[in-house]
Subunit: 199 residues, 2 copies
């Protein structure tokens, strides 16, 4: 039994993963990290937060970008430096306190930590497009492409930086389609899951 509760949430864009994570964190008394993780990474690394924000969960695969990549100390590309700074921040947070961390390859960053619950939130594309328009105010005509693009970006980022493939159910303790029970129903079920997981 562990007194600390560490939860990672991998999510498809507009699946409600962020909102579910926020509500779940409150229910289990854990600190919630979504964009705030970038703040922590900036703090612990000394690199300005704007760099983390510009490169948040995306890679540019363009050849020109690769040519122009800034190499830092030891010849490490700058975006790799950002990734490893984030990884360190995630490990630091998880070793200090109960937390719910959204995205940012947190499941990979904490792969050698015990008692971490790994969750994936998905939902049918139509449901997510509707939610992108209603909740995030994305233009209805552009939403289908936008949703797919963000998904692709995140998957490419994850697959590049980890030695795993994004979204394989075996990588998670529980995967839920958030449209099945809705946001609050999903939160309640995940709370029950975590009660069992940390029993």
């Amino acid at each position: 039994m562990s007194s600390k509760k560490i939860v990672t949430i991998t999510r498809q864009y507009a699946s409600g993963g962020r909102e579910i994570g926020m509500k779940l964190a409150e229910k289990i008394g854990a600190e919630f990290f979504d964009k705030k993780l970038l703040e922590e990474a900036a703090k612990t690394s000394g690199i300005h937060q704007s760099h983390f924000e510009e490169n948040d969960e995306k890679r540019t695969g363009s050849f020109l970008y690769l040519l122009s990549t800034t190499y830092g100390q030891n010849g490490v590309p700058f975006d790799d430096t950002l990734f490893f700074a984030q990884l360190n921040a995630i490990q630091k947070i998880a070793s200090e306190k109960s937390c719910v961390i959204i995205g940012r390859c947190a499941d990979y960053a904490l792969r050698d930590f015990d008692h971490v619950a790994h969750i994936l939130i998905s939902a049918p594309i139509e449901w997510r497009i509707k939610r992108a328009v209603e909740v995030y105010g994305i233009d209805a005509k552009k939403a289908p492409d936008y949703v797919k693009r963000i998904d692709k970006q995140r998957i490419a980022y994850y697959n590049y930086y980890t030695d795993k493939r994004w979204g394989i159910p075996q990588n998670y303790h529980i995967c839920l389609d958030s449209s099945a029970l809705g946001i609050d129903g999903t939160v309640d079920l995940l709370k029950d899951f975590l009660d069992g997981f940390y029993a």
Copy 2:
């Protein structure tokens, strides 16, 4: 709201999917179909049950086998005939009564049915190997290869007969690692999930 409860369970070998399905069926008052599905398929098709048993969730990819495949009426290979007979039996059962169906591409067979809950049960390979030895009496030395082989057979069968890829979380409403809560804990959580799903 639907009064009938139709549940499909896709499972990795020795993950406990069968036992979970059996207990869940009892809890929700649904009929349980694992091997019994083959009996139903034999009954509705008139083809002897032994053929379904010999070909249960596996294909032989061998070239010699393909050459020797028996072609039935309309030039349809015999193993395709068996698959479609099973598909018909699954659809017949689901249109008649509450049921929990294990494997046999039931999620695909019922893709156009409303109010069907699709579940995937997985577990880490070490946990499943241990369970294969303890529960199914598989020889401890042979178990690692055996578990992987059955998984591969089922995946190849599924991917061949459906237009989907096995084990993509987006194809299921909930995926659970049965080692996280154990068999009974998983059954309880799935019961809660179905209560919400069918509310």
